[in-house]
Structures are given as structure tokens and as C-alpha cells.
């Protein structure tokens, strides 16, 4: 489908233009989601998109689905109620690195542990953009943020490992540059039965790039292109070539009992006992 048709079909055009800065890659991630939804043929009326607070979370206002713009960090918790109360809905959560892994980190690990059928898309730009450039749990060590004027002292989260360790049954990482695989991961995540998480590496030229002298938006996109390697290729690379490289790809794909199905199973079992 052409871009203009996608916009017409899935965006709330009255709410455009969006609030994102020139060069921001949140638009690419949002478009990729819409392409994935279109290719999967999801019913807009049966799809709910939930977000928290932050730049990425503003996406829901532009998307023509059932949308909920919730409180900071709590999107997964709201989404859990939406899904469990009405299992026929497809529930997708859009969250940022701060929203999902700092203030909402507890909900991330527990939604993963529960293996509830939600798809979490973390648009990770390694910075708090909405509040003006403070470091987040994914800002690299020693990088600059307005609240880390001498460099971040902490070590960053690896969101893929975090989600995997917490029990997510589908985990992938893509980037705003590698769009075709990104769309594929979004599709696989939405189709996966259980808790799925896709981290999307995004760029924030305004607040991350400027503070850290990462160059223009185009230069930052080039950095994504040059430094991210598909995991299967990375595994075959000699050690010396891995220096400075990051990986994207699908990391976890497994079947485990899904929370809502398990719960509905209990309801049906109890009903059976009552009828018997």
C-alpha cells in the first residue's frame, strides 16, 4: 500500500501534523506498525493501542484504532485489564525506554512473566525527549544527558535480555533504519500468542544527538546502518570485527501457556463442573 493510502486508512488525519521533531524516527516506527497491521489484516475495531507518557506515547493520538493514552509507565497494566476483560481484542502497547523500563519497569517484567497476550513495542531513543534530554535506563554509560552533565555513571539496560530473562516468549530488536525486518518483527510479535516485545532503536537528534555530538539526523541514521548487525551474521563474525557492533534480530520465539487462555480455561472448567 502507498504511504498516502496507509495514512488515509490508519491515521487520524485531522490530528496531523504530529508533534515530533524533524529527524525524529518515531514516525518510521509508527509507520512500520501500521504496515504490519495492514499486512496482517487486523480489524481496526478490534485493535486497541495503549501508550504511556513520553514522545513515543503520543503516537496513539494519530492512529485510528481504539486508543488509550494512559499514565506514565502504566500502559502495560492498563492493557492487561483491556485484554483480560475482552480477550477478542488485539492489544498493542507503545512505550518509550523511560516509560517501559524506568517508571514502568515493574510492569514490563511482570507482563513478561505472566506471558499475557500483549505486544509491547518499545521505541527506544536512549533519552527522555519529552522532558528535554535527561538520561534514561538505556542511555549508554558515559553518554551525556541534562541530568548527567558529566556522563552517565550507570550501566544501561539491555531490553532484549531483560524481556527474555523476565519470561517474554517473543523478543526481537529492530532499528529505525532496517525497516523491512522491523515490519517483520512487528508482524511476528502481533501474531505471537503470549507476551511479545520488540525493541526499536530510534534516534533523537534534538536531545540525544545534540548533547552527544552525534551529528545530524542523517548521520545518526547512518550510524544505525553501520553499527547494527543482524544477530545471525554477528554470530559468524570474528571477534575483532564485533568491536563497536550492536545486534538486531529475533532472539526468543517459544510457546508457553498464555495467561488469558489459561484463565478462560479455568472459567470453562468451573462451568463444566457446575453443569455436570
Amino acid at each position: 500500500m502507498r504511504s498516502s493510502q496507509l495514512v488515509e486508512k490508519y491515521f487520524r488525519t485531522k490530528n496531523l501534523p504530529h508533534i515530533w521533531c524533524p529527524g525524529c524516527s518515531l514516525g518510521i516506527a509508527t509507520r512500520s506498525l501500521v504496515v504490519a497491521i495492514d499486512e496482517l489484516g487486523l480489524d481496526k475495531n478490534k485493535t486497541v493501542i495503549v501508550s504511556g507518557i513520553g514522545c513515543s506515547s503520543r503516537a496513539v493520538g494519530y492512529l485510528d484504532f481504539n486508543t488509550i493514552h494512559t499514565t506514565h509507565g502504566r500502559a502495560l497494566a492498563f492493557a492487561t485489564g483491556v485484554k483480560l476483560a475482552n480477550p477478542e481484542l488485539h492489544v498493542i502497547v507503545i512505550s518509550g525506554d523511560g516509560d517501559a523500563s524506568a517508571i514502568g519497569g515493574n510492569h514490563l517484567i511482570h507482563a513478561a512473566r505472566r506471558n499475557i497476550d500483549l505486544t509491547l513495542l518499545i521505541f527506544n531513543n536512549n533519552i527522555y525527549g519529552m522532558t528535554g534530554g535527561q538520561f534514561s535506563p538505556t542511555t549508554p554509560h558515559a553518554a551525556l544527558g541534562t541530568t548527567a552533565p558529566f556522563g552517565v555513571v550507570e550501566q544501561p539496560f539491555d531490553l532484549v535480555k531483560l524481556a527474555e530473562g523476565a519470561g517474554a516468549t517473543y523478543v526481537a530488536r529492530g532499528t529505525a533504519f532496517h525497516v523491512n525486518p522491523l515490519v517483520k518483527y512487528y508482524k511476528n510479535a502481533i501474531e505471537h500468542k503470549g507476551f511479545s516485545m520488540v525493541e526499536t532503536i530510534c534516534i533523537c537528534p534534538t536531545y540525544y544527538g545534540r548533547q552527544n555530538k552525534s551529528g545530524t539526523a542523517v548521520q545518526m541514521m547512518h550510524w544505525l546502518k553501520d553499527s547494527f548487525v543482524l544477530n545471525t551474521a554477528y554470530d559468524k563474525m570474528p571477534e575483532e570485527k564485533r568491536q563497536g557492533k550492536h545486534v538486531y534480530g529475533e532472539f526468543v520465539k517459544k510457546d508457553l501457556p498464555e495467561y488469558v487462555e489459561e484463565y478462560v480455561g479455568i472459567i470453562e472448567r468451573l462451568k463444566g463442573e457446575e453443569d455436570a
Binding site: 487520524r12 488509550i68 485489564g81 483491556v82 476483560a85 481484542l89 511482570h110 479455568i266 472459567i267 468451573l270
Partner: protein, 377 residues
Amino acid sequence: MSKAVLMQGNWACVEGALYAGMRFYSGYPITPSTEIAELSAQKLPLYGGKFIQMEDEISGIAAAIGASISGTKSMTATSGPGFSLKQENIGYAAMTEVPLVIVNVMRVGPSTGLPTASSQADIMQARFGSHGDYPIIAVSPNSVTETFTLTVRAFNLAEKYRTPVMFLTDETIGHAREPIVLPKPGELPIYDRVQPADGEEYMPFRVEPGEIVPRMPAYGRGFRYNMSGLFHTETGFPSNSPENAQAQIDRMFAKIYDNVDDIVTYEEFELDDAELVFVTYGSTSRSVIPAIKSLRKQGYKVGMFRAITLWPSPAKQIEALAERVKHIVVAEMNRGQYLQEVARLVKGKVPVTHIGRANSEILLPSEIEALAKEVLS
């Protein structure tokens, strides 16, 4: 007539909620409210409903709001610290006008306080606990039977006025077991939120003529709209306009305060010729009533006004009391919270005294009797 059964207050709350149509509960265990979660876990799947124990108090209320947006009557329950943790999302539910019942089985605070002991010290937090200006409905029962009927009413008010409703009980009533005759289906009215008809032209936050609140379709029915904690226009989408913010907040207050006569309920006891009136609520009324009975036998003209709806307060009724009695005593299990509201309404027309504490010892009828005699002498 059905037979009375012995039931705990917290259980009666769940039975009332199920009667009202609750089909979703999410929360986090905390004393002394935990029995509400336990019984919900046991009963909801039998009704085809859902229970989920969340990872914390915040997600406990967040999931309940999500379920209500899905079109399911939802409840969460908590106590003490948990009520503090829920405050941000209480504001979200008020702002997005999502029907929800929040039970607070009050215990002694601040902080961890006395977890197994009773208090009524969250009255002001129930009204003003979340940031910003918003209206709220709060009700408080004084018996196991009233816990049932008032829980049903809390759901009805939540649905009718599209608002979170605080159900403020306490350890005394929550853990007490008393006989209750459970109402039969159909005996109490049940109210469901108004939804738009299929295919209706729908504006998510517009009030249709003759209605109180915007219609609220369940997500998934085809009315794709946006919920946001940002100030939003009738469309549901954010707006920074001061005029819009003013109109929205005015409408939110008006839906509650223009309908106080429907929302506010209260009980009067021995008020006709009373010179001294105790204003009280919830479990403390059980200390006041025997004191009044004893004082009446001794010839003292005393009575009680029990607020069943605490917020919005029974302002008209309390203002009227101030015109006809000589003295008002506010009795509550705290150091003077509802006192502030009563004093505000009485406007100095008659003296207002307070009796209360929050150290776990409930007020004794003898203390109340002694205070009345002192005041009247």
C-alpha cells in the same frame, strides 16, 4: 423472606459488587482489605468474570480502569499505603470519566501505621488525594448489610456519573461478621452506563441532550476513540486551550454537584428536637447511637446526622442543621478531617466540637456521652 446468614463486611462488599455486575477485579493484597481480593478470586470465574492479582497497587487500579474501558464493571480494593499509591490513576479515571469502584478498608496511618487496626483518616485523601481539581463521589457504610447495599449503589453511581467512586469502609466494619439477608436478584436497582447505539454518529466526550454524561461504548464495538489524561475536547483528543480546559473541568464538576440530591444519602437519628447533634459516618456511628440512646433516657436532647455519602458532602442538610441546633459535634476516627468540611458549612453559626482519634481504639459510647454532657452543661 430469605434467611439471614453471618457474613464478614469485606465479603459483603464482594457479594454486593457481584450483584451490581462486577465482572473484573484487579488489585494487590493488603491488610485489612485482602479478603476482598480473596473472595473475588474465588467467585469471579464462577460468574464468567476475571480476577487478576497485579504486581503492585498502581497496576491494580490501572488494570481495573483498562477493563472498565473494555466495557466491564470493575473494582479494586486496598488499604492505607495502597490508597496512596493508587492516587495518580484515580485522577486518570476522573479525567477520562471511567466508571470504577475503589474500595479503601481504612487502617491506621500514616505510613505503615497500625496495619491491623481501624481508622477513618483517609477522608480528605479520598476527596483530594490525586493532583489537580476534580470531583469525586465517596460513600461509607456502617454495617455489613449496608456494605452490601452501598457497594451496589457505588457501582450504580460510578456507571451513572462516569466517575471513580470511593467506597470508604474500615477495619471495624470490614472484618466484623454480622447477619445479613442477601437481596434477591431484581430487588435492588442496577444501573449500566449509557452506550451509543450501533452506527450512531458518536462524539466521545459530548453530552447528548437530556443526559448527564457522555455515552461510553465498550472498546471493540466499532467506536474507535481516544482516551487521554490530557485535557481533551469532545473528540477525545488533547487540547491546550484554556477555554477548553475550563469547559471540561466545569462539566466534570457540574455532573456531580448539579446532582447532589440524587447522589447524597444520609441517616437522621433522634434529630427532631435535638439541641446537640453528632455529625458522624461509617463505623463511628455505631459508637454514637448507643450514647444517644443513653443520653435520651437521661433527658438530654441529642441526635445524630450520619453522612452515608461523604463526597459530595450533604452540604444543604448540614447547613440546615446549623440553623436549628445549638451545638454540633463531629465524631470520627481521626484528628479532625470531616470536621473541616462541617465547620466550613456551619460557618460559625453554632459551635462545632470534635471527638476523635486514630490510635486504633475506637470511640467508646461512654466517652461520647461524657462529651455531650460537658458541651450541654
